[in-house]
Amino acid sequence: MTVASVAADCGPLAMEATGLSKDFRLGRGATLHAVRDVSFGLYRGAVVALVGESGSGKSTVARLLAGQERPSAGTITLDGQPADVGSRGAFRRYKSEVQLVFQDPFSSLNPVHTVSYHLERPVRLHQGSTVNVKSQVTALLEQVRLTPAVQFLPKYPHELSGGQRQRVSFARALAAKPAVLLADEPVSMLDVSIRLEMLNLLDDLRKRLALALLYITHDIASARYFADEVLVMYAGEIVERGPAEDVTQQPAHPYTQLLVASAPDPDNLGSLLRSFAPGGRPPGDPPRGGLAQPPTPPAARAHAAASGPATTGCPFSTRCPLAEDRCRQENPPLQRVTDLRTAACWRLDVAASGIARTRQTGDPA
């Protein structure tokens, strides 16, 4: 089931993944399905957030889109053309359109090279030898607000703070003048007080440069703040997608509901302490969506979490409080929730009962 993407309102389609899958052979005939049948589009000027736990396959999606891994199935198109990373030249052309920013600004910069070295190389590689490299590098540093640029050019990574290093990473990615920026947990290694500044910078860059931005994160609250559309991944599959505000405020899929319920809630003072006091959870704290807070004690939940995704049926069925026989046997496809939302769940009637669902096409009346 495909529905329109809210991100399409922001600009033209830049990149599209259709039915993307990636298997890794583990030896002894075992296969890990890291990414399974993932489809979505990235639009110029829009932020699409890919949210999930570690091991859910979100970084593999980024590596597939960046051309660093070949998909086992499915296609990637860039500006309507199939992605071509076959030859060195083609890969270089591809990279000048699609850039990746990594999580760790401490290991993604070379400690023995200066800032100017890190930026001059991609400028020469991607913009050719005719440009004025020095002025381009200065412009890049100003773009990521490392000013005065002259002061930062001769510095080595260890002389920079974490936030400054990540800015250099952004500048390096922008040196290629890409259309698509894939940001893999770009702020999760940074201090809280710096993170917002970084997200605001990325937000500003995508608007000014009309970047199509894929924002990969495990922090669903930042996805709400920053993204237009949210894709929630679990065990290699997209289990829910829709406008960021809708998905985070009224999650439809039980897994998204668990993610939202697990995020720290500063407005709920002492909730962790209170949840174990006699009388259970504080009153006046209605669960969102259709699913109540999991009533199981944490130890039991820990075992459930440790049991890993199911191999048959819905991958979340081992942890899902709503799971029934059908969920354990048959993997649900993405189903329409509203005109802009889908979720892969057989129990949406219960899980998403609070959401005004649009009628299925072909439904009489």
Binding site: E53, S161, L259
Partner: protein, 354 residues
């Protein structure tokens, strides 16, 4: 959930926030410096902090703010070039030993209280566990070092510790790499609880974990605390987490405490501009979607800290007098609670004071 460990505490689960006559741990005027060729880095500067029986105190600060140095300094776990330059750390255990200054203890006295009275859950469980030893051997090793138990008893104790944190016993035979990140962190917590300590220091115990796992582990920590009655000093950069978890919160910046108050005071009437900035730094999942600003700039270089208030260069309320303020914690004006203290003489919960 079974509690195979002895002596569940009779302390009330939630401590009232008042500073009683003698706190469990009282850090006074503690300063720690790192001696470097280019001068001392004042990582912790004249910090006062107390921890009461059964209390959860949160220490919030960014990387490099000195929060880990403070905790390790208080337990004398720092090695040169770190030097404790002033202060005392008074530990008044509830198990009969006379109150004593940890900083003055002999090695054998220290060895006695470490792990048995004060235990630590270290930052990165991935690195804190030995990759070439089975979980059982590591647990038994710690048990033998601090408790007098026979081999069989130690093995049984190791198994019961895993029960305590909800890990199946057959995992005793596992190597750390065979466990998930959450399980490794649980093993670290189990290890810290081996000797039924009175105080557990937790240094970013959940930082590298996914939200769902993080929540489970925090809930488990709270559950264990309720059952066993230990006090927690919880170190993290994530203030939003502390608001939910802690009884009291101390906000640390550039080696100094800038504000201390109950979780509720910190959230509802934050007084120091830095605390306000931090509260405005994390996107909220609930409530209306707000424009957020974060805190511009970056923390000062502690080799050459600015005079007066260290937050001045990033502070929206800064004025010339800030460069001359004496950094002391004083009660927040207008607060009903005399223990809600701030280091900023100019800004209160409502904004500028004068």
């Amino acid at each position: 959930m079974s509690t195979p460990m002895s002596t569940p505490s009779s302390e009330p689960a939630l401590q009232e926030h008042t500073a009683p006559a003698s706190p469990l741990l009282e850090i006074k005027d503690l300063s720690v410096a790192y001696r470097t060729a280019s001068g001392d880095v004042k990582a912790v500067e004249r910090v006062n902090l107390s921890l009461n029986v059964g209390e959860v105190v949160g220490l919030a600060g960014e990387s490099g703010s000195g929060k880990s140095t403070l905790a390790y300094g208080a337990c004398r776990l720092l090695r040169p070039p770190a030097v404790i330059t002033s202060g005392s750390v008074r530990y008044s255990g509830r198990r009969g030993a006379a109150p004593a200054d940890i900083l003055q203890m002999r090695q054998d006295q220290l060895h006695k209280i470490r792990w048995r009275d004060i235990a630590i859950v270290f930052q990165s469980a991935m690195n804190a566990l030995n990759p070439v030893l089975r979980v059982r051997d590591q647990l038994v090793d710690a048990i033998h070092a601090h408790l007098k138990l026979s081999r069989d008893e130690a093995n049984e104790k190791a198994a019961s510790l895993l029960d305590l944190v909800g890990i199946p016993r057959q995992r005793l035979r596992s190597y750390p790499h065979e466990l998930s990140g959450g399980m490794r962190q649980r093993v670290m917590i189990a290890m810290a609880l081996a000797a039924d300590p009175e105080i557990v220091l937790m240094d970013e115990p959940t930082t590298a974990l996914d939200v769902v796992v993080q929540r489970d582990i925090l809930a488990q920590i709270v559950e264990l605390k309720q059952a066993l009655g230990f006090a927690i000093l919880f170190i993290t950069h994530d203030l939003s987490l502390l608001l939910e978890l802690a009884d009291r919160i101390a906000v640390m910046y550039a080696g100094q405490l800038l504000e201390v108050g109950t979780a509720e005071e910190i959230q509802r009437e934050a007084s120091h501009p830095y605390t306000k900035g931090l509260l405005n730094s994390f996107p909220s999942l609930r409530g209306p979607r707000r424009e957020l600003t974060g805190i511009p700039g970056s923390p000062p270089d502690l080799r050459d800290p600015p005079p007066g208030c260290p937050f001045m260069p990033r502070c929206g309320f800064a004025r010339p007098a800030c460069a001359e303020v004496e950094m002391t914690l004083a009660p927040v004006t207008g607060s009903a609670d005399p223990w809600h203290v701030t280091a900023c003489p100019f800004v209160g919960p409502e904004g500028m004071r004068a």
